[in-house]
Symmetry: C2
Subunit: 344 residues, 2 copies
DNA sequence: TTGTAAGCGTTATCAG
DNA sequence: CTGATAACGCTTACAA
């Protein structure tokens, strides 16, 4: 605390002194986009002085004066899920392009409120937040900031979302086309819209085809690798097994795949598995994971753009945005139901 | 721009008015750790007023006044590599505990300088940066901030690092113990200390055992899944194949494993593979990846702690810190060299 | 013990 | 066109 950790840097005042103009003039010259009405000669002097001194604007000070920070917050439950990483990456990219910073906050599921308030204390201009965390926080807190929800068309807040119902539908259609009739679902219990819709789209499509998921085949498990693993293990212990399983996300599916390998169940010969998200890892396992690709980076990028647009003056658009399309990527973990089963 | 995107919030002035004291008094009451010499009665009034008004300090303003931002920057080349994610996660955690924010910057390998300067413009109190990015930036820029390098004991800047040489050594010892003699290495070409040391530790240990890596078995490839994949594919096309391969990181190893699967090479029967990092995915593939566990989260956490300690007044410690221990995790991708080969 | 004054580095509003 | 002057919200001497 003794010596300031931040070295004293060149300020507009220094530049002004050097250029022989007033300090605000420097500010004008340096900021006004369409060169404000400043004598060309003066401008040149200021610019040169700034250049020579190596002037760098102090964004914090600017923020204070403008009552905005040119920073976005992004809150996710956990960094472990590559899906969120892609969202973050997409958002960070467009934010950076617009000179916005990104404050990262990983709640770890604990005290999301504290994380949010910490962000707001920093005068965040807006916040990108995942559905689960948002729902764990009083809306009065969210109301204090511009907020964009990821994958949860709430009607309360603006958001970007993928077509989760379609994801479930495509997964179902794929399995149906392959002849599967004994089908299971593994997904998280929490009330996250995207997950619910994936499930609903899946179940409804099956139903429309005259199929249903017996309750024993409907497994609630955390959307993590170990969640998927454990759920699949349980599924495999029963004497009547499904011939195909849809997992609400890829992490889950990879865990399930792992459980099959451990149990000596051959995928896709004995069992088909299909995930959702299409994280990078989906192509690194063998066989490669069949999944429904969700444009995570694009979700993040759009969320950021939406926020930036609002900050630029546009009215926040609470209407549910167009759902980003998802598409099935058939790879190696799904196959036609084996002949010896199809007659069951 | 018309209406400020940030809602006007309660300020110390509001609190002061309500408590019937001066604004600085509020500041004193709210901050002084050992309750500054303010009448207990006054303090109570102020605290109550703050409470009633729902006062939240404006960290930006405080930062401006104190010439520090209570924020850390963290710069990584890419979010794709789970290793960095863990580093970030570890750092974010300890930062958050100390009320520090984390500004995330993904360079994507492009214009690291711009990213750094953007961070510095925000009066970052310190920065955690990976070795590769740091080396791509003039040291004069780094000198403007408190910096901690990840996995690069440069002597120039403080840093935290894992025992990369030991990682290589352990990998080599493991393979040697399994009887391997035709051994390959796949690793990145860039001059990143940790990668170099992993390689060196590996090569030297082999050499000490009277083994060497023929140049054809020394493959330079990006430390990514596709890098590992491609390198392995090339290795497999030759008629003389190694019996074991050490990949400089897990991503690489997973790519290599994938290439084997695609080529019908059975791991670990026909070929052993060993990675380095122990990312979560290592346990999700089949067979599970044998690797050397590097405490990535701990690296991030220590980096943050080191930075915070410096900010609290401690002199930055440039001496190479104790290397964090790594340890081999023998799993499924390594096995004794097959009998029909050991005689070659 | 507390209020006054100054300053952090900008931007914004005016007179000149 | 340009330069004072006043914020922005807070901290930190320094007076009172």
């Amino acid at each position: 605390m003794t010596q300031p950790p931040i070295a004293r840097r060149v300020t507009t005042r220094d530049v002004a002194a050097r250029a022989g103009v007033s300090q605000p003039t420097v500010s004008l010259v340096l900021n006004r986009n369409p060169t404000a009405r400043i004598a060309a000669e003066t401008q040149a002097r200021v610019l040169r002085a700034a250049e020579e001194l190596g002037y760098r604007p102090n964004v914090v000070a600017r923020g204070l004066a403008q009552r905005r920070s040119y920073a976005l917050g992004i809150v996710v439950p956990e960094l472990r899920n590559p899906f969120f990483i892609d969202v973050i990456s997409g958002a960070e990219r467009v934010a950076a392009e617009e000179q916005y910073a990104v404050l990262l906050s990983e709640t770890g599921g604990r005290s999301p409120l504290a994380h949010l308030e910490a962000l707001q204390g920093r005068q965040i201009d807006g916040i990108i937040i995942d559905a689960r965390t948002a729902s764990a926080v009083p809306s009065s807190v969210l109301a204090q900031t511009n907020v964009v929800l990821i994958d949860e068309p709430s009607g309360l807040w603006p958001g970007v979302a993928s077509d989760a119902a379609s994801a479930g539908r495509q997964a179902a259609e794929h399995l149906i086309a392959l002849g599967h009739r004994e089908i299971a679902f593994i997904g998280p219990a929490d009330d996250v819209h995207a997950m619910r819709m994936r499930e609903r789209g899946f179940v409804q499509t099956l139903r429309a085809a005259g199929l249903s998921i017996p309750s024993l085949f409907l497994r609630r498990a955390p959307g993590t690798a170990s969640g998927g693993h454990d759920a699949m293990r349980l599924l495999l212990t029963r004497r009547s097994r499904p011939s195909a399983v849809f997992c609400a996300n890829d992490l889950c599916a990879l865990g399930a795949l792992k459980a099959c390998a451990a149990a000596g169940v051959s995928v896709p010969r004995d069992l088909s598995i299909i995930g959702c998200d299409d994280i990078e890892m989906a192509r690194l396992v063998t066989p490669e994971l069949t999944t429904v690709a969700v444009p995570a980076r694009e979700l993040g990028a759009r969320a950021a753009r939406m926020l930036l647009r609002t900050l630029a003056g546009a009215a926040p658009d609470v209407r549910p945005a167009r759902l980003l399309p998802v598409r099935l990527v058939a790879r190696g973990t799904t196959a036609a139901v084996p002949a010896d089963r199809s007659t069951v």
